[in-house]
Symmetry: D2
Subunit: 355 residues, 4 copies
Amino acid sequence: MKKSEITLTTLPTGQALTAPVFTFEGSDRNAPSVYIQASLHGSEVQGNAVIYHLWEYCNAHPPTGDITVVPLCNPYGISRKAGEYTAGRFDPTTGDNWNRTYVDFTPEAKTFKHEGDVASLKKAFRAYMLSALDNKIKAGLDTAQLIAARLQQMTLNADLVLDLHTGEVSDRHLYAPSYTLDSTQYFNVPFVLSIDNGFDGATDEAVFCPWWTLAQARNLDVKHFGVEAFTLEVGSQEMINFDAAKIDAEGIVEYLKHQGALEGDAIKTTMKQTVRTLDNYKTFHAPTGGLVEYAVEPGEHLEAGQVFARILNINHYGTEKCFTNCVLDYPAIAILRYSSAVVPEGAQLYRFFKK
Amino acid sequence: MKKSEITLTTLPTGQALTAPVFTFEGSDRNAPSVYIQASLHGSEVQGNAVIYHLWEYCNAHPPTGDITVVPLCNPYGISRKAGEYTAGRFDPTTGDNWNRTYVDFTPEAKTFKHEGDVASLKKAFRAYMLSALDNKIKAGLDTAQLIAARLQQMTLNADLVLDLHTGEVSDRHLYAPSYTLDSTQYFNVPFVLSIDNGFDGATDEAVFCPWWTLAQARNLDVKHFGVEAFTLEVGSQEMINFDAAKIDAEGIVEYLKHQGALEGDAIKTTMKQTVRTLDNYKTFHAPTGGLVEYAVEPGEHLEAGQVFARILNINHYGTEKCFTNCVLDYPAIAILRYSSAVVPEGAQLYRFFKK
Amino acid sequence: MKKSEITLTTLPTGQALTAPVFTFEGSDRNAPSVYIQASLHGSEVQGNAVIYHLWEYCNAHPPTGDITVVPLCNPYGISRKAGEYTAGRFDPTTGDNWNRTYVDFTPEAKTFKHEGDVASLKKAFRAYMLSALDNKIKAGLDTAQLIAARLQQMTLNADLVLDLHTGEVSDRHLYAPSYTLDSTQYFNVPFVLSIDNGFDGATDEAVFCPWWTLAQARNLDVKHFGVEAFTLEVGSQEMINFDAAKIDAEGIVEYLKHQGALEGDAIKTTMKQTVRTLDNYKTFHAPTGGLVEYAVEPGEHLEAGQVFARILNINHYGTEKCFTNCVLDYPAIAILRYSSAVVPEGAQLYRFFKK
Amino acid sequence: MKKSEITLTTLPTGQALTAPVFTFEGSDRNAPSVYIQASLHGSEVQGNAVIYHLWEYCNAHPPTGDITVVPLCNPYGISRKAGEYTAGRFDPTTGDNWNRTYVDFTPEAKTFKHEGDVASLKKAFRAYMLSALDNKIKAGLDTAQLIAARLQQMTLNADLVLDLHTGEVSDRHLYAPSYTLDSTQYFNVPFVLSIDNGFDGATDEAVFCPWWTLAQARNLDVKHFGVEAFTLEVGSQEMINFDAAKIDAEGIVEYLKHQGALEGDAIKTTMKQTVRTLDNYKTFHAPTGGLVEYAVEPGEHLEAGQVFARILNINHYGTEKCFTNCVLDYPAIAILRYSSAVVPEGAQLYRFFKK
């Protein structure tokens, strides 16, 4: 394993903001290349413990494919405390979510001109994207776009991309493009979100959407390009747990075996996996501001009508407004919830899988 | 003038977050109705001084059209200090820009079914939007969407909408849909941005885009609906200047006369107005992080190659990296600039009109 | 129970920042008067659930002493979100900790002139403090001082004061002036900090220090004044738990019975209480920045040399700097810990009672 | 000039937070040693431009005394943006003002045991402080204390210390211990605050208070130690102006000549200097929240009764509460003012010298 550094931006002090980059050189030039990063959102640090276990594995079992890993990939967000917590979700000047500012190459994918087979098309389009990205950086980008673009340069060179995130208070779940649903069975996650070809600025989308669009424009099966990208949510923010991380690392190892980037026979997860599309992934907004007692934790199943949260408005003590009970009119599974009891009206209190 | 209150959201204390609403009832039921708000971005408060002068005028010269005014329309943003300054540009939980979360009715405008003349179409589509907006609020929205939606309810009832903002350190400028370029000559602003029918979530767009789209879908001239909406940038953030505000108020008065919402003959501005489309409105990003000496102020003209800012990297003293000179390769007019000397790489240092 | 409102400060919108005030009038004019507040630090909301249970009790068992309760006593702090969490510990402009800006009357206590018995002395000194506080407010105070001063006016009128806080991730504990150690046995808390007569700006100190100093200056036993004040830490921040709150409320009820503000025979807690002075309450600072796995939870006992936290520096993977083990060289009990895994060097990682 | 780096703390990423340190070795071992830093508060960057000019001078005129300079001495604060501005005044977790956490050695100064002449006493007490500071760092400090302590190590080795700050919107002014009032005439500042031997945690106090106390404890004239320290406020925050910086640099050069750290005859400033003690330096707090039009700029003289600021409460339009005029009942000179028009009640609107 080799260590280098990438400069993501320059701080007002004139000092470079850098992230460490670790690379394993694979033994087989034909094996897929892999890119993994963690902590693009500063409070979502558990992925670094997952990476720790992954490295322990790779040191003992040298990979066949090249593997590039950037733990702590957004030092700007990671080091930005607000109180004891980490205000690492967006640029503090612009509000740009660090994971919504990647460059979109789907328009170019629709119109890309190239004659030749899939391998040569893949090579040409990748080269095009890298060159176009470089030009965008030179022409000037916002700070958040700049950091994303410099990470994106690394993701574009990889065939398999894993962006390790966490929810707020959350069970494990995986965002997977719908064409990868065979692959998802190797990850140790109970919940899978099957997503379509829609670009909203995230790391994984910036990888798979252009290839998917390129394939669609040519009536090709996107699987021919051998490119997959996932957002893997490995638990809750603001915490490190090495035992839990080991479970996620083991799933990633099986996935990489399945893809031929690690040696050995891949074994599917023993977890029961529930798969849903985005329109069955529901956000519940706080119907009033107040202080929330959460009655249901991520992973739990709810009946229709079951109270999963209760909002206290103690200044209305003695009236019916003192408590607001939160219920759904359909059965569901809680995937994640808000991480504070102190909520304004409209806060995203829970996210549910419709059963 | 009557005063009431609108509840925008409920705070975690259970207390309502409210904004005052002031209304003048017009003398002529056929005159256009007007809606004006200020300080959707919390640090952009100069519009409140403009409103002060406008009321002084309206008290002396009662309007013909109904006028609804919401100064301090976003108390959440206005009261959010960070250091001495006002962190009022976006929701502190989600990063949602307070002026990018309005509901988009252009999809419905494309397919809206209605038989009848323009007046009846206007009435029907307005009623549709109000009802649909109400349903969205009931179904649950994020905090920033909720505040915007409750303001949007008022804007949808008006024919003429002015959203008073400021730049950072900025000269006056006006965002105007291209079909209103006759109207813009009444405002006391030296710079006008002519914009197309593109929805990006802002107050003004949420008003004019649906009508414009409705007109386009029917091959109607959008002017028939009599709906206009503008973002008027009345100077720099974090300051109040009553003399400057009077100039802006006078321009608004002439515009409202021109539209028949106030009585009297409208007089065009004596200011020289420069009009540009958005593709001639250029952002200059800081090419490095550092400490910036701004050499050109908003309103000033630049030659190609003229140094308009110099970035000090004192930790590189003694090397050529100590200073970075900022230049353009075309002549331009500075419209606004960043408000701090302390900048990371990628910061939006200036915005220019190409000459 | 009656409800009113107190205005704490005026916001930049010109709107009053208010907190609700609830009062029970006691049946016995000779019974001590009580003041209870919660959430002076905005993220520490569990006290409001405690207050809920307390009111349920008081409604069923009317108090003998007057009881004034201000839940949500710092709406400025409670409504200040930063990300999902609550940035409610200090004034965002000045950094003033909301619980360190109370006015200090100990200098005046040392030199206060009065002839008469204890009851008349108490009355005179209380009147002096209230009048002096009023003068300070009129002369001009910082925002945080102003809010504190307006709460302090209510505390000065009470004999028994409870300020309900929480730790970060924390077990229950109580700050008690050393002369109240008989009283502490009625609270349902496992850990008691016995504190001396030292003023550092907190609610409880602002109540008991002046009386204690007045007593010391006159060689009186401070107990003669019948004034007690406590900071009661009822668990962890950012959460509401009604079952846990009931336990704390029951302890408060017994304490108020013991003091004669409620009717009935007081029963001491069945919890084992460990009492320590401040010099046996130790802060452990993070010896390096990094990502922390917390191995010991509040309430747990540690041996000397036991690893209670492990800090991951994954960018130093492969070197001995990758992990830093945290240990003490003495046996201890963990009282509270930092609430995030993401820590800079120097962060207050844990607080311990020395065994 | 040599450049090195000092590590101030370790970030959550495990990366060192460093500041550049520049040193000139003086030609005369008997000349006083000098320490200068800038930007301990992150938004106060103008001192870096002053340092630039100072270095240009020193490169042309090599110093006799050793000069150590740390521009950008608090990279944690400088790089912490909140909106476009710089939230660099206090630690975002604890609220600790970066310039209030230096270690206080005055208690030890009172009781320090040493036999010998002033030179040997100076050497011994300096060695004591350095050693004690090192022990404190090893024993564990809060992040803000740690950064201060590591800067303090450098200040303790110097005879002459300049801490370059700025006000908010401010004229130049100098905090000077009263025993240095001869020296202050060399600085190019119109306003001087003469301060007593009182420690409140600031850089300059941490230097001069221990020596002053040591002198007082022994009935020595503090001047015998040859130690002076100043906080020099070189204008307004959030800006860089090289022309203004040159004036300040020239004053510092004359001061250093006067002290023998630079060669040449020192010339006193041609500015009229007004000197006041702290009790004649008055803070005016906003009597209400609202939007402020500042009518008087720093440096201007006011008559008693003159309106220097007007607070708009537009939600009270039509009532006498719409405007609040701010006046003093004594003549004064404005030294600095708040930097935003958006203020809560209690904000420090202005600071004045009483005339």
